[in-house]
Amino acid sequence: MGKKELRVAFLLALRSLQRGSRSSVILTILIIGMCFTNMIFLPGLFNGIGQSITKQVVDYEIGNVLVSPKSGERYISDMDATLDLINGMPGVERATPHFSKGATLTYRKRVLGATVRAIRPNDEKLISPLYTKMVAGSYLGDADTGEVIIGKPLAGDASVKEKDEFQASLGGVRVGDSITMDYGNGYVKDYRVKGIFYTGWYQSDTAVYVSYTDMALADPRAADNAEYITVKIKPGYSEKFVKDELQQYGVSEKVQTTADLLEKSMGRALQSFAIINMVSLIVGIIITTVVLFIVITIKTINSRRQIGILKAIGVDKEVIMHNYGFQVVIMSVLGILFGLVLTLLMAAYLAAHPIVTPEWSATLYLTPWDLVQNSLILFAASLVAGYVPAYQVSREDIQSAMRA
């Protein structure tokens, strides 16, 4: 197949698309575009949910690497020594301890159980964006005692009646208000609400944060114990590298990366997502293949006599086959471009208006590789769908084709 033959095949294809049935061409391009969007939207959304959950977990729960007590122990007992060791490791941005305790919160007539999380506020700033999520008041300081920050859903809204609340709250706590916290160990204390935050991560938003100093008053074990230590890594380092470093250089506690933990907690969900993604991909490919197969089959059947004539005047069957091949290529490329535009518009819309739930907020998460991969898969499927009928009809003998 030489350059001249390809040029003629391309000319025939181009003219057929330009001057043939425009509505059929436009419809085919729209269908390919929508199939592309269908192939990429659901997986992109699931990836977005996964990314959102991962980010929230990293930001508000465990950082990049979690150091937790050895098996059979409840706390990391030599907390400061462990923190010094971890903070001195290459690749570690900062490590900070966490200590959680359940408490009963009382505000006016509302009584509610909640988790109280003890943090070192200044270190926490290097690990979590919590301090940027204050919607009222201000963030905690290291030396703060008698002050707390609480999540907005937990603080509640005074304008919503208790029976109408989506989730139980303290009914409208404001900055400066006092709430009573009973830790269940006989330690009861009134705290002033210093700030109210909203992260969008349910576990954080339904918690109360106090300084480590304050927690040590409520539970003396917090003075030199951590329930777990969260570690933020420096840019350019991998979680795995830091985990290996920590284990190699003497951190005897249990060390897990975010990926390790998510694999355990969300492995099944991710597997389900992967299955749904695969089904969506296969359905998209089948629809596109069938549509293009039908379109090209109809085109070739309607053009059988013309195909016979072309062969009769000396046009080789390869040229005729590539003519339909090029038509499919052009329609596929335009369809995929249309699908890309549609997908990117939806991605932009969802970036501006994420799907928000109490647990997570998701956008469409697409990597360039996802777009390239799906484009190539759809393109390959289109080629098969177009070339099969084109191959069949181009091999028909002239007489049969011309009699059609």
């Binding site: 030489g2 001249k4 033959e5 040029r7 003629v8 000319l11 025939l12 003219r15 057929s16 330009q18 001057r19 043939g20 006599r305 013309q306 004539i309 072309l310 062969k311 009769a312 005047i313 000396g314 046009v315 080789d316 069957k317 040229v319 003998d397 002239i398 007489q399 011309m402």
Partner: protein
């Protein structure tokens, strides 16, 4: 130029055999304008299809310019048609999505020995010759039947084929347009010394043919020069 010997074509429809051609033997010399005439079903078109390499005979030989064309492969036959033969169909058979110029240029574009410039020059020349150069950007549907048939002729001669086959080219035309087309064939034959083999069942067309071969039931029943030709 063309030697046909014992050419036979049998169509089988179930258990019934139809002999469309029955042992046709014929020689056609270079530069002849041969009319193949006969009633409907006499085998004229079948013979033309065999000569144009559009169909294979059941038996017999066709030799064109020293080439045993029936021994050629499928691809070689395609190339033979492209380089050596021109074909004009009864229903014009133009590609509806191509302009007049593109239709005419199409066979030339596939030839390896034609440059872009040469293709354009040749196409302009034949379109000028048929009087439709000013319509070169029109689509076939924008032309009359007679004009479409002239474009079909231009497409057939653009590659300067050795032989031009025409299968009842005037069947869909009125007398005026038919005469215009036949005059064109006549001029091409005269000026370019083009060998033309044309099928027709219209008796008045014979005035254009140098030689008339009459078929009946797939057999040659008469073959002779036409003294009353133009």
């Amino acid at each position: 130029m063309i030697q046909i010997s014992d050419l036979t074509k049998i169509y089988r429809m179930g258990t019934v055999e139809v002999r469309a051609l029955d042992g046709v033997t014929l020689d056609i010399a270079k530069g002849e304008f041969v009319g193949i005439m006969g009633a409907s079903g006499s085998g004229k078109t079948t013979l033309l299809h065999m000569l144009g390499l559009l169909d294979d005979p059941t038996k017999g030989k066709i030799n064109i310019e020293g080439t045993d064309v029936l021994a050629l492969s499928d691809y070689e036959k395609t190339m033979f048609r492209l380089y050596k033969l021109g074909y004009v169909f009864q229903d014009y058979a133009l590609v509806p999505d191509l302009t007049v110029m593109e239709n005419v240029s199409l066979p030339a574009m596939l030839r390896k020995d034609r440059s872009e410039e040469q293709i354009r020059k040749d196409s302009d020349f034949v379109l000028e010759r048929i009087g439709l150069l000013d319509r070169c950007d029109h689509l076939p549907r924008e032309l009359s039947g007679g004009q479409q048939q002239r474009v079909s002729i231009a497409r057939a001669i653009v590659n300067k084929p050795d032989i031009l086959f025409a299968d009842e080219p005037c069947a869909n035309l009125d007398t005026e347009n038919s005469r215009m087309v036949l005059d064109l064939f006549h001029d091409i034959n005269e000026e370019m010394k083009q060998t033309i083999v044309m099928v027709s069942h219209e008796d008045w067309h014979k005035e254009y043919f140098h030689r008339i071969v009459r078929l009946k039931d797939g057999k040659v029943v008469s073959d002779g020069t036409n003294p009353s030709a133009h």
